[in-house]
Amino acid sequence: MKSELVFSKYYGEPEAAGLNNYLNNDKGYDALKKALEMTPEGITQMVKDSELRGRGGAGFPTGLKWGFIPKTNKPKYLVVNADESEPGTFKDRAIMNYTPHMMIEGCIISALAIDAHIIYVYIRGEFVREAEVLEKAIEEAYSARYLGNTVCGKDYKLDMVVHRGAGAYICGEETALLNSLEGKRGEPRIKPPYFPAVHGAFGCPTVVNNVETLAAIPGIVREGVDWFKSFGREKNTGMKLFCVSGHVNKPGLYEKPYGYPFMKLIEEDCGGIWKGRKLKAVFPGGSSSPVLTAEELKDVALDFDDLQAAGSMLGSSAIMVMDDSTCMVQVAIRTAYFYYEESCGQCTPCREGGKWLLDLNRRLESGNGKMEDLDLIADICDKIDGKTICAFGEATAWPLRSLVKKFRHEYEQHILEGKCPFGGKAPSWEQ
């Protein structure tokens, strides 16, 4: 498979983040100059033709999203989703740390395409250092006149500002993010309208795009649609950052084309499962994705469509790997605790259901569970799924339902033995 490092060329090299490096070694801001000669429709069409899909989780076609922005005299906004809150995801942090100008250039081009004059970068509050790197890079972009009153000398005013979140997973959901940006509690908005394109930030047309999505734009504009589509496969185009964590020998960030074989990534790139153990299960797209067993993963390719066909999702490409010593009920507790803790509390099924799922899994782990608890978990998941304002409901239900479904024997073992068959101990700290 054709492959090239686009996003992670400077992974681990903070000194590469400066403007000079980007200009001298990466044709920095050449794409912007080209975009300034194009019409907004032309830029959008190019992104549509590239088949670029959003890299925050949903995989929605980026060009199509831009195309929803209505022609109106209202201000329009571009919002960068740098909340990176899906458990297992750590790719946007790397882009912001080591190649911030690629993202900034992508933002400027995207702003031109949708006629936005302000770009907000909504970054999770914990990323203090990343926000600093980004602010420094934005300052450099202002000094070089890529931002400011006259972008590259043209009659186009464009501002960009970093807006820090303050610790809330739900603010990665785009309507919650917009409320948070407006100075409100980060509670998702009721749909419709389904897209912020019409009614977004401050009631105005808004595009919300993920960091990695925007960082892909300069390459498409500069090198062309064919170049971009030469990586990956149909409807899953381009190079992609995969975040691998958990029980592999070499966890970390891996840049591969879409469609890369899952087992190849684990066995070859990540050096296989640690301690000579066997692969047991994986969350392939963050903790919100249904769990897949080793058997199900055998022939899976890493793209949106293949993982969906396998019964899960690529999500934010956050691959959390579990070896055969892992107790899946303990994993369920960690997962349930997360959704219980992070629920914004607006919708009863999510707010109450999350606590029930946590309590039931805790009871099962303690050995005091009953067989009917397993059906109760599935039932609670059914009653959350699709019955909440935002997709947080599904994010709670899908992993927890899949854990019981696929590892039912392990849950039953807890009940029959009256204790955790793994000794009730969490994985140990090696270092």
Binding site: T89, G125, F127, E182, M320, A426
Partner: protein, 156 residues
């Protein structure tokens, strides 16, 4: 308190040109106020409310939603240990117990000398280098026991 007001005013001056209304400045200003004072007691929230011409209950309502806005004082060294799935798989439960034993406090507590606060947090977005501890503004990745020992000794 003068310092806090100055920090609030400076943040408003620096950021207001980017936003169509004052309400949107609430998160940036709360961050600035907390950085100046250490946490957000009633008086500081009142200053924020007045400076942005917002009702105090509105400020409290927003502050209460976000975990990074502290409603009580935290130690000089705030140890935030991630215990989400990726870190759990790499032994974060042991990390928490190790720090509990070293400092004699449980998650959510602060040592009597006000030096250390221990908090168990959800995913910090650094899962490839688990286990991870965030201490104040910095991440400590792939932490070992000796890393923790060094961090604690340096602060004591």
């Amino acid at each position: 308190m003068k310092q806090v007001q100055n920090a609030i005013d400076a943040e408003i001056d620096k950021k207001k040109r980017f936003y169509p209304n004052k309400e949107a400045l609430l998160l940036p200003v709360l961050h600035a106020a907390q950085r100046a004072y250490g946490w957000l007691p009633h008086d500081v929230m009142e200053m924020v409310a007045k400076s942005l011409e917002l009702p105090l209950p509105k400020v409290k309502q927003v502050t209460s939603f976000y975990t990074m806005f502290y409603k009580k004082p935290v130690g000089e060294c705030h140890l935030q240990v991630c215990n989400n799935i990726a870190c759990y798989l790499r032994g974060s439960s042991d990390v928490i117990h190790y720090i509990e034993n070293k400092l004699g406090i449980l998650p959510g507590e602060t040592t009597k000398d006000g030096l250390f606060t221990l908090t168990e947090v959800e995913c910090l977005g650094s899962c490839g280098t688990a286990p991870v501890i965030q201490i104040n503004d910095d991440y400590f990745e792939s932490v070992s026991r000796s890393d923790v020992d060094k961090i604690l000794e340096a602060k004591q």
